[in-house]
C-alpha cells in the first residue's frame, strides 16, 4: 500500500482499531472483525523471532494455558480447542512452552528454520516419573 502524505491521515498519534463502528467485538472471532489497515493485526512481526514454538496435538489436552498466557494473543483456539499458532504475531518468547503441563510438552521451541515435520518426527518421548524427579534434583 502506498503510504499517505502528511495531509492524508487523521490528526494525532492515533490509530483506529476497526473500520466503522463495532458492537460485540468480544464475541466476534478475529477473522470476522473489521480490522482497519492500521491495526497491528494486519502487520507481521514474524522476523522478530529467532526461535519458534511448534505444536504437537498428539499430546495436547486443551487446557488453554498457552492461550491464556500468550502475551501477544498468538495462540489460536476455537471452541476451547487449541488449533495452532499465529506466526505473523508470535515473537518466540517461549512462555507457551513453559506453561504447557503435558508430558511430553505439546509445545516446544525450535530454531526458526526447523522443518515442522522433522520436528514432530523427533519429538521427545514421555519422561518416566523417576527420571523426571532425578532431573528436577
Amino acid at each position: 500500500m502506498e503510504k499517505k502524505g502528511w495531509d492524508g491521515f487523521e490528526i494525532g498519534a492515533m490509530l483506529r482499531s476497526f473500520d466503522g463502528a463495532t458492537q460485540d467485538i468480544a464475541t466476534t472471532l478475529p477473522e470476522n472483525r473489521p480490522y482497519s489497515q492500521s491495526n497491528s493485526f494486519t502487520a507481521s512481526v514474524a522476523d522478530w523471532r529467532i526461535e519458534k514454538p511448534l505444536f504437537n496435538k498428539e499430546y495436547c489436552i486443551d487446557c488453554q494455558f498457552c492461550w491464556i498466557y500468550c502475551p501477544d494473543m498468538s495462540i489460536i483456539s476455537r471452541d476451547k480447542k487449541m488449533v495452532g499458532i499465529d506466526f505473523d504475531h508470535c515473537k518466540g518468547c517461549g512462555i507457551c512452552v513453559q506453561v504447557c503441563p503435558t508430558n511430553p510438552k505439546s509445545l516446544l521451541m525450535f530454531p526458526e528454520q526447523k522443518d515442522e515435520e522433522a520436528a514432530l518426527a523427533e519429538w521427545p518421548k514421555k519422561e518416566k516419573k523417576a527420571d523426571a524427579e532425578v532431573k528436577e534434583d
Binding site: W6, G12, A13, M14, L15, A21, T22, Q23, I25
Partner: protein, 407 residues
C-alpha cells in the same frame, strides 16, 4: 450539578485566583496537579472549589508534575476537558509529557506561572520556563496582569478544543508580579463564561467504545516526519486565525480587545521595545514619559501569542521603527536572547533596516525599573540617530558588578 458562584462585577483577585476562577467557570472535567510555587494557589483554590461543590469534575493529586501532565493526557485522550497549572522546575519535569500532549493533538490548558529555573534555586519570576517550552508544540499565550490571566484562560479553552486545532495551550503569567498581586478583575458570570467556552466536544475519545482507538502510537522513519509536519501545519496556518476569531468574540462579549501582537504608541514610533509579561505595562508607562519628558517617540510591542510565533504581525508592527530593543527575561546561556533572534528573523528579509539590540533583564525576579527602561529608550534613540548600534548587541540590565555585555 455544580453550584453557581455569585461574583461581583469587579473582584479583587491576584493572577492565581483569576486563573482558578476561569478553570472553575469552564467546568473542567479533570484537573490533575502537583502544586509548585508560585502557581500553587491556582490548583489549591480549584481544589477548594471542588470540595465546596462548585465543580463537577475530578481533582487528582498526582505524585509529580510528570504524573500530573501524564494524567491530563490520559484524561484528554479519554475525552474530557482538562487543565492544570505549574511553574519552573515542575514545568521542567513536565517537558517530556508536553511533547506527548501536543504530538497526540490533545486539548489541554496549562497555566504556567513563570518562574526562574535553578540552579541557584529561585522561586521568583522570569521567563526561563516559558522559553523552555517554546519548541514543545504548545500554543503559548501571555498575560500581563490578573485580568488577562483570567481572560486568556477562556481564549485558551476555545482555541485548544477547536477540532481544527486540537493543540494544547499554555497561559503564561509572571510569577508573583502577576500571580500574587491583587488587582481589580472584571468578571463574567458563571453562565456567560461557560457559554463563551462552550460545551466540550469530544474527538476520537477512548470512551467511545463503538470506535476503539489507540492513542500515543509509535512511528519510525516511515511516519514520524509526516505527523510532525501536520502539527507544524496546524500551528503555522490554523491557530492564529482561530485565536483572532476567539479574540473578536471575546471583545463582543466583554469589550476587552486583545491582539496577536499588542502595539502601544507604535503609529509614529521611532524606537520601540519588545517584551512580555508585566514588563509590558511598565514599558508602556515609560514610553509615554519618553514622549512627554524626553521628546523620544517611543513605542512598546507586547507579545500576546508567543507560540505560534507571529512572524508576519511582528514584521508589520516594526516596519517603520528605526531601533528596537529586544528584552529577554531568561538567560540565553551561550546565545543571543530568543526575542532578539526571532524578531531578527521576522525582519531580516523585509525592507526594515531597524537597528536591533538585546537586553537581558530581571532574572530570578530582579526588578525591571522605570529608570532601566528610560536608559534603554535613550540608547535606542542613539542607535536610531546613528543608524547603527552604539552599544554592544547584548547587554545585561540591573546586574551588580562590572558592566556585562557581548558582541
Amino acid at each position: 450539578m455544580a453550584d453557581t458562584m455569585e461574583l461581583r462585577d469587579i473582584e479583587v483577585w491576584d493572577g492565581n485566583m483569576a486563573a482558578s476562577h476561569a478553570l472553575r467557570q469552564a467546568q473542567v472535567d479533570v484537573v490533575a496537579a502537583y502544586p509548585i510555587t508560585p502557581s500553587t494557589p491556582i490548583v489549591e483554590n480549584y481544589a477548594n472549589f471542588t470540595a465546596n461543590g462548585y465543580v463537577d469534575g475530578e481533582f487528582v493529586m498526582t505524585e509529580s508534575e510528570h504524573g500530573a501532565m501524564s494524567c491530563c493526557i490520559g484524561a484528554a485522550a479519554a475525552g474530557g476537558r482538562v487543565a492544570t497549572a505549574t511553574s519552573s522546575q515542575g514545568f521542567a519535569l513536565m517537558v517530556e509529557t508536553l511533547y506527548s500532549a501536543s504530538g497526540m493533538r490533545l486539548p489541554i490548558v496549562l497555566n504556567v506561572v513563570n518562574r526562574a529555573l535553578g540552579a541557584p534555586l529561585n522561586v521568583n519570576g522570569d521567563h526561563s520556563d516559558m522559553y523552555l517550552g517554546r519548541d514543545s508544540g504548545w500554543i503559548q499565550l501571555d498575560a500581563y496582569c490578573p485580568q488577562e490571566a483570567y481572560d486568556m484562560n477562556f481564549i485558551a479553552f476555545r482555541v485548544t478544543e477547536d477540532h481544527d486545532v486540537r493543540l494544547p495551550a499554555i497561559v503564561n503569567q509572571d510569577g508573583f508580579m502577576t500571580s500574587h498581586t491583587a488587582q481589580g478583575v472584571k468578571t463574567l458570570s458563571d453562565e456567560v463564561a461557560y457559554k463563551f467556552v462552550g460545551e466540550y466536544k469530544p474527538m476520537n475519545d477512548m470512551l467511545d467504545l463503538d470506535h476503539p482507538v489507540t492513542h500515543g502510537v509509535q512511528t519510525e522513519e516511515d511516519w514520524h516526519f509526516e505527523h510532525k509536519a501536520r502539527q507544524q501545519h496546524a500551528l503555522m496556518t490554523i491557530v492564529i486565525p482561530k485565536i483572532e476569531a476567539a479574540f473578536a468574540d471575546f471583545e463582543k462579549l466583554t469589550g476587552r480587545k486583545y491582539n496577536i501582537v499588542e502595539t502601544y504608541n507604535m503609529e509614529d514610533a521611532e524606537v520601540a521595545v519588545v517584551c512580555m509579561g508585566t514588563s509590558v505595562e511598565t514599558a508602556r508607562e515609560v514610553a509615554v514619559e519618553m514622549r512627554e519628558q524626553h521628546g523620544i517617540k517611543a513605542g512598546v510591542i507586547g507579545i500576546r501569542v508567543f507560540r505560534p510565533w507571529p512572524l508576519q504581525q511582528i514584521a508589520a508592527a516594526l516596519k517603520d521603527v528605526k531601533a528596537v530593543g529586544l528584552l529577554d527575561r531568561s538567560s540565553p546561556h551561550g546565545a543571543m536572547g530568543t526575542l532578539y533572534n526571532e524578531v531578527s528573523g521576522a525582519l531580516f528579509n523585509t525592507d526594515t533596516k531597524a537597528v536591533l539590540t538585546n537586553y537581558i533583564y530581571g532574572l530570578g525576579g530582579r526588578d525591571l525599573t522605570k529608570a532601566h527602561l528610560t536608559a534603554i529608550f535613550k540608547e535606542l534613540k542613539a542607535n536610531a540617530d546613528a543608524g547603527k548600534p552604539t552599544t554592544p548587541l547584548q547587554q545585561y540590565i540591573g546586574l551588580r558588578g562590572p558592566k556585562l555585555s557581548f558582541f
